[in-house]
């Protein structure tokens, strides 16, 4: 009190100013409407705001969402059935969709093929007939199928022209439409990653949680096991394990076997992340605060720890889905993974295994494009999630 009195008594010198108004700490930083919204937002909302700003991750998330949303409706979208053979069109090259015929705009159409058997090379030479455009049809009746395995239907979103063909990406050695088969393959290829990551997630959470929570010798043992598993080359072990799958298993069982194998070798990375996160979070102030307020151990783990590292875990899980998809593709490509009649992108690529495919029928390599797109999308989305996972920093 005496201090302020002398300050007020002193004549104000140049460059030295003391406001006479009473000091109000709340006034110096008034809360704006935006700030209020920020302070009250839940962690999930903050993550969402931060994720939205990462444009590439957002686009990737949309691409993936569209792809996964398509899976139940594959039969209706694909112009041909999965096993529909077109005996007259073996190894037919892709037919493009055109809009202009002789300079005039038309409804989307394709040019039909005619093939000649070349007696010198013993190959079918396909010649595009540019004189008669065949308009393609939308929402029409085609090969029958069971929608969702229950409802019988035969309506297709897009169909070949009346009496003509429409092989957007060409056909394979049995004359099956590659475009349709890629759509069907998406079902398997896109779920392999999810099932595999579920296995790996469960194992990682369990072992990582055990190591981080119990500590001591359990932690030591799990750490060593993780180190050993991480030092093993994955592919030879995948090969060995998939060779160990009994050959008399049904394709569906093989599918689950393969995904479990993929997940079995993937968990150490996640377990390590869980453990280090648990150890780090245990020391945080908010955990101490909760402890002081008398929260039980169970409540601390369930209410404070798990929500906090879950976002990180989901981010790192997203980042390891691509390696599973690539792993399945590689195994199937080598003939040790999934087998026909199950169709995945790797199984489709298996047909493009030789140099003849690259040379004569390069369109058989096309299934690689969706693989690359999905892998990149998961990578970008994972990056975005990882950046957004910690909204308070």
């Amino acid at each position: 009190m005496a201090d302020t009195g002398t300050a007020a008594a002193r004549p104000p010198g140049p460059g030295h100013f003391v406001d006479d108004a009473p000091f109000d700490p709340g006034r110096s930083e008034p809360l704006g409407i935006g700030d209020e919204r920020l302070y009250r937002a839940s962690a999930f909302r903050l993550i969402w705001w931060k994720f939205k700003r990462h444009r590439l991750a957002m686009i990737s998330a949309i691409v993936l969402a569209v792809m996964y949303a398509m899976l139940p409706f594959v039969e209706a979208i694909a112009p041909y059935g999965l096993t529909k053979r077109n005996g007259d069109f073996l190894y037919a090259p892709p037919q493009g969709i055109h809009l202009f015929h002789e300079g005039t705009l038309q409804r989307p159409f394709v040019y039909p093929y005619a093939f000649k058997f070349n007696m010198e090379t013993f190959r079918r030479d396909y010649v595009v007939d540019r004189t008669r455009p065949q308009p393609i049809r939308f929402l029409c009746r085609g090969d029958g199928y069971h929608f969702l395995g229950l409802i019988e239907a035969n309506v297709h979103l897009i169909c070949p022209p009346e009496g003509g063909t429409m092989f957007l990406l060409g056909t394979d050695r049995l004359g099956r439409d590659l475009f349709s088969r890629i759509l069907y393959g998406a079902r398997i290829s896109l779920t392999v990653g999810l099932v595999g990551i579920a296995v790996s997630f469960a194992l990682g959470l369990f072992f990582g949680g055990l190591a981080g929570y119990l500590g001591g010798w359990v932690d030591n043992v799990i750490q060593r096991v993780i180190e050993i598993l991480r030092s093993l080359p994955e592919l030879p072990l995948w090969l060995a394990l998939s060779a160990a799958l009994p050959p008399n298993w049904s394709p569906l069982l093989v599918f689950f076997g393969i995904t479990i194998i993929l997940g079995l070798l993937d968990w150490p990375g996640l377990a390590r992340a869980v453990r280090s996160k648990l150890l780090a979070l245990r020391e945080e102030d908010f955990v101490r605060a909760a402890e002081l307020m008398g929260a039980s151990r169970k409540r601390i783990i369930a209410r404070h720890l798990i929500p906090n590292f879950m976002s990180h875990l989901i981010a790192s899980a997203t980042l390891s889905i691509p390696s599973m998809i690539l792993g399945e593709t590689a195994l199937s490509f080598l003939g040790l993974g999934l087998r026909p009649p199950i169709t995945s992108w790797g199984v489709l690529l298996n047909e493009a295994q030789n140099l003849a495919a690259v040379n004569l029928h390069p369109w058989l390599l096309f299934p690689i494009v969706p693989v690359v797109i999905v892998v990149l999308a998961f990578n970008f989305m994972g990056d975005g999630l990882r950046d957004a996972a910690d909204p308070y920093h």
Binding site: E227, L232, L235, P236, L245, A352, L365
Partner: protein, 338 residues
């Protein structure tokens, strides 16, 4: 240093022991084995003499004993029919499919596998370091974006397909023969200069393909490391004192960012070995990859087991080397005192 080395080697030995048990278990997982199948086939044909021979082989290799005993005999700590003869004694077992000792079956393939992996590690470092330095010092430049794009593509394209396509175009444009590690002309010739040149030519595609994913990952990580270091004050100080930019860069932040880089060899190696197995299958390289695949398919247990062990040893020893390099490079790492 010696204590550190001893401790590291001991851990490595334990790791290898666990791996060998794992490998043997996996090999034994499918029901039946090569010999049992063969005997059933021979019996069905009524060839008693051959069946007797196969049964002799079964006793010889202890296939009639419990699995744990077979395992111990295989690694060479349990007396088998010929006394101690297992991996530890340098007896790698018998390949039933080729009807030859495993040693003769794998032979040169071991060295070629080693060679390819070594070449790939060198390639990854030689390419990744300069590109990472470039894109970190010129962040958000065109070159940086190109490097990032290349990195993502390297991550996403399965290397076996890239191998196939590259092989095709290298053959079409440069006339290098397809598959194998040297021109078929040289297959029966002794090593001479032309053969070595042919070998080097044929190594280009495999090295590129196997190394691509690793290079991409390394560029990404090194760029991030270097960017962290470039923002630190000691670098600003070094520049402010008037050190030439190149020297300032190479002497301080570069050395710092190199550190996690070498530790990363541990992550890189298993991937490279996996990649080399896969790519060898596609390119038909005479490495252990194709041999492993056929051995696994026909349950040729000693052959498959040995190759899996070899591949594991390759990575584990590689990790040891990277640890030693790290300890040598970074004086802050205290040896033995951890």
């Amino acid at each position: 240093m010696i204590l550190f080395l001893a401790r590291r080697v001991l851990t490595m030995a334990v790791t290898l022991l666990v791996i060998s048990a794992l490998v043997f278990f996996i090999i034994k997982l499918p029901p039946g084995d090569f010999l049992t199948n063969q005997i059933a086939e021979l019996r069905a044909q009524g060839e008693a003499a051959s069946a007797a021979k196969a049964e002799f082989l079964i006793r010889q290799y202890g296939l009639d004993r419990p699995v744990w005993e077979q395992y111990l005999v295989w690694i060479g700590v349990w007396p088998g029919p010929q006394g101690f003869a297992g991996l530890l004694q340098g007896d790698w077992g018998w390949s039933f499919e080729y009807d030859k000792p495993v040693q003769l079956v794998v032979g040169d393939a071991l060295w070629l596998t080693l060679l390819i992996n070594l070449a790939t590690v060198l390639f990854v470092h030689a390419v990744a370091i300069p590109i990472a330095i470039y894109s970190a010092t010129r962040q958000y430049s065109l070159g940086d974006y190109v490097a990032t794009l290349f990195g993502y593509l390297g991550l996403a394209i399965p290397n076996f397909l890239l191998a196939l396509v590259l092989l095709f175009y290298v053959n079409r444009w440069f006339g290098v023969s397809i598959g194998g590690l040297y021109d078929p002309v040289y297959s029966n010739q002794p090593w001479n200069w032309d053969k070595v040149r042919s070998l080097l030519q044929h190594m280009i595609v495999p090295t590129l393909v196997i190394g691509l994913a690793g290079t991409a990952a390394m560029i990404r990580r090194m760029r991030a490391n270097l960017l962290d270091e470039l923002n630190k004050q000691y670098y600003v100080t070094a520049k402010a004192k008037g050190l030439p930019p190149t020297k300032a860069l190479l002497k301080y932040p570069f050395r710092m960012s190199l550190n996690p880089f070498i530790a990363d060899i541990g992550n890189l190696l298993p991937n490279l070995v996996s990649g080399s197995v896969l790519v060898s299958l596609v390119l038909n390289l005479p490495t252990v990859g194709p041999i492993l695949l056929t051995a696994l398919k026909s349950q040729d247990q000693f052959l498959a087991g040995f190759i899996l062990m070899f591949v594991a040893v390759l990575t584990v020893v590689g990790m040891l080397v990277s640890d030693l390099l790290l300890a040598w490079l970074d004086p802050r790492i205290r040896l033995g005192g951890r």
